[in-house]
């Protein structure tokens, strides 16, 4: 790798993943920097979402998935048999392409996670408010917290999902094409949000929109056919990539 990440929060070593017989990730090695935004780019089927879903072991839910190699988060191997998956998914939150608020009130959406951990009353109110503020949604919903989350616009729903993920205090936020279903203004708001969230959270975002990766991320990894081709600081990738394949992709010569 051209860039050495000092103090990485996630360390991936020799990761191979197979869906039954089909191999989707080949010997991936990378370090994700702490409290920065890292983007995964690459054409459809390149493995970027597959890798993202390894970080919170969401791939476990798929039958016949086999994983070799290691992923360490804060030095801890997340595939170790002793790992508590719920605790992992609290530390590593995720938002998806299609926002999926619960069919509950805005308040209850955000409060759902903390409630499970036994948090109640004024402390719960605090957490809900703080999370909605952190997701840049508070001003828009503070007077209607008991209305259904499903009544919000697409962009607001996505921010609600981000607030929900943040309510349980994660260190890492995974975002799988979070803006694909949103219009440019809503997209801009989420990108602006990512910019502010970086101060406190580590963000890993999968996007098929290269320009978005260029705008929001500090580091970018380019994937092709299950391999990580190049990983470097974003300005470097977009001004002078080292690998020909990266250059061909970002200049639109294929994919």
């Amino acid at each position: 790798m051209p860039t050495t990440i000092v103090d990485p929060i996630i360390e991936v070593k020799n990761l191979n993943l197979k869906y039954s017989a089909k191999q989707a990730l080949f010997d991936v090695c990378m370090d994700i920097p702490r409290r920065k935004a890292t983007a995964f780019i690459g054409p459809s089927g390149c493995g970027k979402t597959t890798l993202l879903r390894c970080f919170n072991r969401l791939n476990d839910l798929i039958d016949n998935v086999s994983v070799t190699g290691s992923i360490r988060i804060q030095g801890m191997d997340i595939y170790d048999s002793e790992v508590d998956l719920t605790a992992l998914r609290k530390r590593v939150g995720m938002v998806f392409q299609k926002s999926n608020p619960f069919p509950k009130s805005i308040y209850d959406n955000v409060a759902y996670g903390p409630r499970i951990y036994g948090i109640r009353n004024s402390r719960l109110d605090e957490i809900v408010e703080r999370s909605l503020k952190a997701a840049a949604l508070w001003e828009e919903v503070k007077d209607r917290l008991h209305e259904s989350g499903l009544g919000l616009s697409g962009g607001q729903q996505q921010r609600l999902c981000i607030a929900r993920a943040m309510a349980v205090g994660p260190e890492i936020l995974l975002m799988d094409e979070p803006c694909s279903a949103l219009d440019p203004i809503a997209t801009g708001k989420i990108e602006e949000l990512i910019h502010t969230l970086k101060d406190q959270y580590t963000i890993v975002i999968v996007t098929h929109n290269m320009q978005q990766a260029a705008r929001v991320s500090d580091c970018t990894g380019f994937f092709l056919l299950g391999e990580m081709i190049e990983f470097n600081e974003t300005p470097r990738i977009f001004t002078n990539p080292s690998d020909r394949r990266t250059e061909d992709y970002i200049t639109g010569r294929f994919g």
Binding site: A214, R215, V216, F238
Partner: protein, 221 residues
């Protein structure tokens, strides 16, 4: 992201102005090193050129990064490409100032050939052109930019005047030839500085109006 991007654009503008200010000072002091016969000043200015070169590279890198990372459009895009070109012109103007200093050092080794009259005037005119072009850039004032362009004719006229006058010196007395030629070169360097200021002004019109007026015959103002 837009807010962040526009902050970065402002930074590019600030750096370009800083570069302009450095170069303006270099030109002013270069001519002073000639008129006041101060070779030490000339050496100082020559040394300061490396700051200009460094800032030129820095601004270029900033602009490249902004283009790569933010895909700007319309006037933002024109702003960045204009800034890149203006920076190039400013860097060349600094090189011309260095050339003037080198001529000054050479001229200061011999007695002054004649009172310097036209050259200081050329210098003032060029400096004003540069200042106005940069003001126009900052304020996005196409009107001010267009006023710079015809001022170039006055500088050209003075250059020709200097040439004719020094030619008579040289024809009368060959011993004046080294000094006369160096003074003619100084007038050329100043004339080039004025040309670069004109380029900057033409780029500002492009920035503001999206209209290319470079390389066309001078438009009336």
């Amino acid at each position: 992201m837009q807010r962040h991007f526009h902050e970065e654009l402002d930074l590019v503008k600030e750096k370009t102005l800083k570069l302009g200010s450095l170069v303006e000072t270099m030109v002013e002091r270069a001519v002073a090193s000639l008129v006041d016969r101060d070779s030490r000043l000339a050496e100082e200015i020559i040394a300061s050129d490396e700051k200009v070169d460094a800032l030129d590279i820095e601004i270029d890198e900033d602009c490249l990064r902004l283009l790569a990372l933010h895909q700007p459009a319309a006037s933002d895009l024109r702003f960045i490409t204009t800034a890149m070109k203006i920076t190039t012109d400013l860097e060349r103007m600094a090189d011309q100032a260095v050339n003037i200093c080198q001529r000054a050092i050479e001229l200061n080794e011999e007695p002054q050939l004649k009172p310097y009259i036209d050259i200081p005037i050329m210098s003032q005119l060029s400096q004003k052109m540069m200042r106005d072009a940069l003001d126009a850039f900052v304020r996005r004032d196409a009107g001010l930019a267009r006023e710079v362009i015809p001022a170039d004719d006055k500088v050209d006229a003075l250059k020709n005047q200097v040439f004719r006058e020094l030619l008579t010196f040289m024809m009368e007395d060959p011993r004046t030839i080294p000094r006369a030629i160096r003074l003619i070169l100084v007038s050329r360097h100043l004339e080039r500085i004025a040309d670069h200021a004109t380029n900057i002004a033409e780029m500002v019109v492009f920035l503001v109006e999206g209209k290319v007026i470079r390389h066309t015959s001078k438009e009336p103002h």
